[in-house]
Amino acid sequence: MNKITTNQLAVYAVEQLEKGVDAKDVALKIAASLLENRQSRELSKVMHAVEDELNRRGSSQVVITSAHQVSESVKKELAKLLGAKNPVFHERIDPSVIGGVKARAGESEIDLTVRGRLNRFKANIVNQDN
């Protein structure tokens, strides 16, 4: 029996969701399949693959992380920068980013946070030291 790839699972999940099957049922089936095939450690990969599949089908999942609530206009601007069509926003408030905002849609990411800049600054200094 061939191994089911994460991409195949993701396509199945998205198709089920589009047919209107309850998300909980789909999640249960996916979980059962992963357990049965001893692929449980690939769960996080499946989650990402589902996200990618949704993006491919024209409904971009945009994850926005910021220290404070972000206004609708900023969200739209970010989605435009990332080239996301029909964006569905998922917001995360994370004080550790200090300030600014970062957004991700599939593999594309834009990081305008203070934390991100500090990290890049730190990496540059470490490189120069060497």
Binding site: S44, K45, E109
Partner: protein, 513 residues
């Protein structure tokens, strides 16, 4: 005097410049670490990553850890970390760097000890190189090459006489542990400094004990060799990825000299540990194991490395990179997987035998199993002429050696061959860190092969050799300077050497009576 500056205007300028900045350039492709462990990270995303492309993984505390992609699969990437895997967690963000691995190269590295990424390991401050070189680079093609024709003297009579090495050659040093493999490489490096050949030495330690590397560095410093040496060091403690990269980094550093019309000598100590490090990486990346659990491409691993050592044509500047790869065998088994691979890749091998080592014959080179396939064309003419009968004499001696114990029951011819063989074997013994120059080697060989030392007792051969060399060095200095140029030994020179040798031999044969 001061110029009028309006802070308002300047601030306005900055403001308008910032307004024009486009942030869309900050959009980058990212992936996510799904699993991590044993120095390998499995990454989801980054479908556009290239083979052996450098990836940057965001570690804890905002540090970045470099990795290179080795397994590109349908839905994930297997990447090997170049730093500690404790700094990376599952879920960490991964970025593409858009380039393959490069290391600093250039003359600034000479005299330094670096890791495979070119970072200094000594306390001599940062290395300010101007250039970088690709770690994985194709070897020069057919038209860019020339056949090996210049000698690379090791200073060891047994090697320069019987298995000569030429510049651009790959000569394998193979043998069990503790048989003096590294000693040959170190002596060769010392000889480059003593004879002022200008050859740049690169010593690549792969998974060696740090104490051994420290000892070598200390010795090279004491002999004044570090001024023309680069050390690329990895210890058994380093991640397998760094041990895997070390020889390629060293080759990149050596290629700089090769491509600029200079000569370099690179020692890979040793390729057995390199293959083991690569095996570890491959098994962790879940590549299918083959013979001795090595992956299928272990031959290519070494062939592409050693093929980078070459003698370039005059059009390309005529530079060269000579390689001395080292292989450690188990119980003298040269038919194991990695030894046979490297023997077939290289242009000859120097086989070290532990039984010879234990008999006190050092360097413990097995004359029968050692060979140099291209070095003959590069051998110094003086040594070539003098060492001509050496191989034959020693081969005859080996065949007859078993009869040596019968002593007086043998016929005169056999007896003479055995006696000559014993003296030659004794003469080829050479202590560590004392390489001989061309004239010293030639004079010793002429004296022994022409039979001048036949009357000297075996136990006095080394003393007689020293006496011969010191007398020639002081009394016939001019002649020896001419001889040192390496031209063929003419009859006049031969009789000069044999004259002094005869006197010395008389002293020692009488002293023993």
């Amino acid at each position: 005097m001061s110029t009028q500056v309006s802070t308002h205007d300047l601030a306005q300028e900055v403001r308008s410049a910032i307004a024009e900045l486009k942030t869309s350039g900050n959009v980058e492709k990212t992936g996510i670490v799904t699993r991590i462990g044993d120095g390998v990270a499995w990454i989801y995303g980054l479908s556009s990553a290239g083979y052996s492309e450098m990836l940057e993984i965001e570690g804890t505390n905002g540090e970045t850890v470099s990795a290179f992609a080795l397994n590109l699969m349908e839905d994930e990437i297997g990447a090997v970390l170049l730093g500690a895997d404790t700094k990376v967690k599952a879920g960490a963000k991964v970025r593409l760097s858009g380039k393959v691995l490069e290391v600093p190269i250039g003359p600034e590295l000479i005299g330094r000890v670096v890791d495979p990424l070119g970072n200094p390991l000594d306390d001599k401050g940062p290395i300010k190189t101007k250039l970088t070189g690709l770690v994985e680079r194709p070897a020069p093609g057919v038209l860019a090459r020339k056949s090996v024709h210049e000698p690379l003297m090791t200073g060891l009579m047994a090697i320069d006489g019987m298995v000569p090495i030429g510049r651009g050659q790959r000569e394998l040093i193979i043998g069990d542990r503790q048989t003096g493999k590294t000693a040959i490489a170190v002596d060769t490096m010392i000889n480059q400094a003593k004879q002022k050949t200008g050859v740049v030495n690169i010593y690549v330690a792969i998974g060696q004990k740090m104490s051994k590397v420290a000892r070598i560095i200390e010795r090279l410093e004491r002999e004044g060799v570090m001024d023309q040496t680069i050390i690329v060091a990895t210890s058994a403690n380093d991640p397998a990825s760094l041990q895997y990269l070390a020889p390629y980094s060293g080759a990149a550093m050596g290629e700089y000299f090769r491509d600029n019309g200079q000569h370099s000598l690179i020692t890979y100590d040793d390729l057995t540990k390199h293959a083991v490090a690569y095996r570890q990486m491959s098994l962790l990346l879940r590549r299918p194991p083959g013979r001795e659990a090595y992956p299928g491409d272990v031959f290519y691993l070494h062939s592409r490395l050693l093929e980078r050592s070459a003698k370039l044509s005059d059009v390309e500047g005529g530079g060269s990179m000579t390689a001395l790869p080292i292989i450690e065998t188990q119980a003298g088994d040269i038919s194991a997987f990695v030894p046979t691979n490297v023997i077939s890749i290289t242009d000859g091998q120097i086989f070290m035998e532990s039984s010879l080592f234990n008999q006190g014959i050092r360097p413990a080179i097995s004359v029968g199993l050692s060979v140099s396939r291209v070095g003959g064309a590069a051998q110094t003419k003086a040594v070539k002429g003098a060492a001509g009968p050496l191989r034959l004499n020693l081969a005859q001696f080996r065949e007859l050696a078993a009869f040596a114990q019968f002593g007086s029951d043998l016929d005169a011819d056999t007896k003479q061959k055995i006696e000559r063989g014993q003296r030659l074997t004794e003469l080829l013994k050479q202590p560590q860190y004392s390489p001989l120059s061309v004239w010293e080697q030639t004079a010793s060989l002429v004296a022994a092969t022409e039979g001048a030392f036949d009357s000297v007792p075996v136990e006095h051969i080394k003393k007689a050799q020293h006496a011969l060399l010191s007398q020639l060095g002081s009394e016939k200095k001019k002649d020896m300077e001419i001889l040192n140029k390496g031209d063929k030994v003419d009859d006049a020179m031969k009789s000069t050497i044999l004259g002094v040798a005869g006197k010395v031999a008389k002293e020692y044969s009488e002293a023993s009576k």
